[in-house]
């Protein structure tokens, strides 16, 4: 266990890092001790990965100090980090799949005599490294012949090397099953007992409580706090991550239209996909907004994609307006009247070089078929109607959409789908990265669409937002549905408690 009086192995003080338009790290100070598993938590954009990249020399910090065992260190590249004993294992395995285990373990550090690699001693060196992580595999076997979990252990064995002091595990469990996770945790405990400091980044709260001694929470680039794991309840932790003080939140009463008797538009029955989402039941009624709440990595996006057919489910069945239908591809979904605005607007939503008009008209064109040209006059009429209706701020409908603000881009994408008059609209993080005014507009649009009888499935990381419009909230955690909150029961507090349970 950590001795508080013992000086820290590594401390970072007042670290700042800016990117154009973003303050990625804002005066962050943290300390890491030997023999401690330190969980680093935070939602998307909290600054975890930036912090790790600063520690490993991939990014240069703007200001601040890094002190290792009382001495200031300057980490300018990954070589410096390596030499300081800071080693990192990423979620994606950064080894060479086409090489053998021994070649991977000894790469750049092979024992040599007269410049020639001595493979016999390289193999025994590899065997020693494998033994440290408790692996008994043939060093001469190809890396790809082993499971992802074993490859991950090999990556750790390589990272530990000769003089590792601090091991950073960046989401190491994301692609492991429960036995493999148990094995990894066994290794982490063993390393901890040997005096290694471990930084553990994950989205899985259960794992945080299973393995970590200390938890540090980051939010929007700032350090929210560092806590002893035993002294922090899950509800408090989720509150810190989402930036909500639970005591301040009331069970505010909401006036909710009854939607129980409306017909069901889309019904999911035990729909899931191995490795992506555990089976989920979900009913979406006409004129109803269902919110999807949960932490990052909880399965919100995955549920949206499965509902729409962007990912193909391997379990369960879907019913559309009372009929059992195979909705396995986006094309089938569009034909039935579904529309989907994905989370990653920049890469999957807009085509930055095309104009507002061209972006807006895309879905209409594809629903009519590429051979039927839409007359320019009609296009312009449709586009100007929506520019007005959604108050899209653009000087000209021929302006490239990339030059618009995030909020206005989002409105164009919404308009693109509204032109086709969908029965069900799926929105994944519709308000991420947009300004306050546009945020307000989009929430209003969502409400109006619902009043007009459209059904909406909205995934959002902002609990406040979901409370503001949802008739029903599906709470997800660790890639599965944990509860469903209906009508008057919906409040920030009830959602956070459901997430933290």
């Amino acid at each position: 266990m950590t001795d508080v009086n013992q000086p820290p192995l590594l401390s970072i003080e007042h670290i700042n890092k800016r990117f154009p338009g973003v303050r990625a790290l804002n005066d962050v100070s943290l300390t890491f001790h030997s023999g401690e598993v330190h969980a680093l938590l935070g939602e998307n954009g909290a600054g975890k990965s930036t912090l790790i990249k600063v520690l490993t020399g991939i990014y240069a910090k703007d200001s601040g100090d890094i002190t290792l065992e009382g001495r200031k260190v300057h980490i300018k590249n990954s070589q410096d980090a390596q030499n300081s004993g800071i080693r990192t294992v990423y979620q994606e395995i950064n080894l060479i799949p086409t090489m053998t285990v021994a070649e991977n373990l000894t790469l750049l550090d092979q024992p040599r005599r007269f410049g020639m690699i001595r493979w016999r001693s390289a193999h025994s060196q590899a065997r020693e490294m494998l033994a440290r992580v408790g692996l008994d595999i043939d060093p001469n076997s190809l890396l790809v012949s082993h499971s992802i979990a074993v490859q991950q252990m090999v990556a750790i064995a390589r990272a530990l090397g000769s003089k590792a002091r601090l091991l950073i595990l960046d989401e190491p469990t994301a692609s492991l099953d429960s036995d493999e996770i148990a094995r990894l945790f066994g290794l982490m405990r063993q390393l901890k007992a040997q005096g290694m400091a471990i930084i553990f980044v994950t989205h899985f709260l259960d794992q945080v409580y299973a393995i970590s001694d200390t938890i540090s929470v980051l939010r929007n680039g700032s350090h929210v706090g560092t806590f002893k794991t035993r002294a922090l309840s899950q509800t408090e932790l989720v509150g810190h991550m989402l930036g909500k003080d639970l005591d301040m939140l009331q069970h505010e009463q909401r006036d909710i239209t009854e939607t129980e008797e409306k017909p069901v538009v889309l019904s999911l029955s035990q729909v899931g996909k191995t490795g992506m989402l555990k089976p989920v039941d979900l009913n979406l009624r006409q004129g109803e907004i269902v919110g999807l709440a949960g932490l990052l990595g909880s399965g919100r996006t995955e549920l949206c994609e499965l509902a729409y057919g962007a990912a193909r489910s391997d379990q369960g069945s879907k019913t559309w307006l009372g009929q059992s239908l195979p909705i396995n591809t986006p094309k089938q979904a569009i034909e039935q009247g579904m529309a989907y605005c994905p989370e990653d607007r920049k890469h999957r939503g807009i085509i930055a070089e095309l104009s507002v008009r061209e972006n807006l008209i895309l879905a209409l064109q594809s629903s009519r078929g590429w051979w039927s040209r839409i007359p320019m006059a009609e296009q312009q009429a449709v586009v100007s109607e929506f520019i007005e209706r959604l108050s899209i701020k653009t000087s000209d409908m021929e302006k490239p959409i990339g030059e618009l603000s995030g909020g206005n881009q989002q409105k164009v994408i919404l308009a693109r789908w509204l032109v086709t008059n969908p029965k069900l609209l799926i929105l994944d993080e519709p308000t991420r990265g947009i300004d306050v005014g546009a945020h307000h507009d989009i929430l209003n649009i969502i409400r109006e669409l619902c009043e007009e009888g459209m059904s909406l499935l909205v995934a959002s990381s902002e609990v406040e937002e979901i409370v503001a419009f949802a008739h029903r909230v599906v709470v997800l955690r660790d890639r599965g549905k944990v509860s469903e909150i209906v009508g008057n029961q919906i409040s920030q507090k009830s959602i956070i408690q459901a997430i933290a349970q």
């Binding site: 998307n44 990965s49 990954s78 070589q79 390596q82 990423y90 979620q91 994606e92 395995i93 950064n94 080894l95 060479i96 799949p97 086409t98 090489m99 053998t100 070649e103 790469l107 750049l108 092979q110 040599r112 410049g115 020639m116 690699i117 493979w119 043939d138 001469n140 076997s141 190809l142 790809v144 012949s145 082993h146 499971s147 992802i148 390589r158 989401e171 994301a174 692609s175 989205h203 996909k273 191995t274 490795g275 992506m276 990052l296 990595g297 996006t301 995955e302 994609e305 990912a311 989370e343 990653d344």
Partner: protein, 340 residues
Amino acid sequence: MLNERYLPVIATLVVFILLYGYGMVEYKGFRDTLVFTNLLTDNAFLIVTAVGMSFVIISGGIDLSVGSMIAFVGVLLAYLITGLGIHPVYAAIIALLTATFFGMMMGVIIAYFEIQPFIVTLAGLFLFRGLAYMINLNSVPIDHELLVILSEIYVPLPGRGGLTFIAMAMLALLVIGVVVAKRTRFGLNVYAVGGDVQSAALMGVPVKSTLVRIYALSGLYSGAAGITFAIYTGSAYPLAAVGVELDAIAAVVIGGTLLTGGVGFVFGAFLGALIQGIIQTLISFDGTLNSWWTKVAIGALLLMFILMQKAIVHFTRRYSGKNPASSEEPAMQKVESTQA
């Protein structure tokens, strides 16, 4: 334990033995060691080129400039020896340094300007051929007593065969290539870059300098091939060795090296080039077939090997049951992207 990555090169060896065995059964003259040693001598420049090409292809790249480089080095040698009267040893050193330098420059452009090797070495292909023409437009003999001495070096073997100087030089360069690939850190870095360049960089492999060295090495080897070719023919001609880059690539691929990089053996290129040579020999022994049948046979063989490699990769992945491109993988990557 037999490692699955030896399978392609073993298959190549089997094909070579089968072809050689067929020749020995069909033709009496084929049983003499002379046939084998002639194979070594006649294909020496191709094998030397293919050894250098192996490093390039294992790193995931391609070098189209090697054929032009052979011609350029030959013409340069002739100019230095006959034109300027420089001693052949110094001329050879100058020629090798020039070839290495040109290779290195292509490597610099590929590594630091991040331009596809295909385009950069295609430019090299035109450039070196053009430079060769600028030095000399015609075929010229290279006359020097040293070349006469070298051509007289001959280590007789049982039978009528024997090793010539260029065969021995080629074997030495082959051994050096095999050792560099498997026993030096540079060689292992070449495999790492070809296997997964991003991972290699994160593991600390100096990717850019490795790339520069790979193309410099290929330049050096094609320069050495140029000298070998000049000794072999005793003359220099700017139109020599047209298309040899493709023969070399074929030799490397038939030798079991994957064009996608990361997998392969330098020794395989030796076998690949010998197979091309043996097909040629078989056709000349037959006497009735047009020599263009060589190209047909090599084309068919190349296709067969590429399909066979696909099949081997497919089956080994399936048996081990850990296909990295399995159905779960895309979903995982999607999850990653949302967590970024």
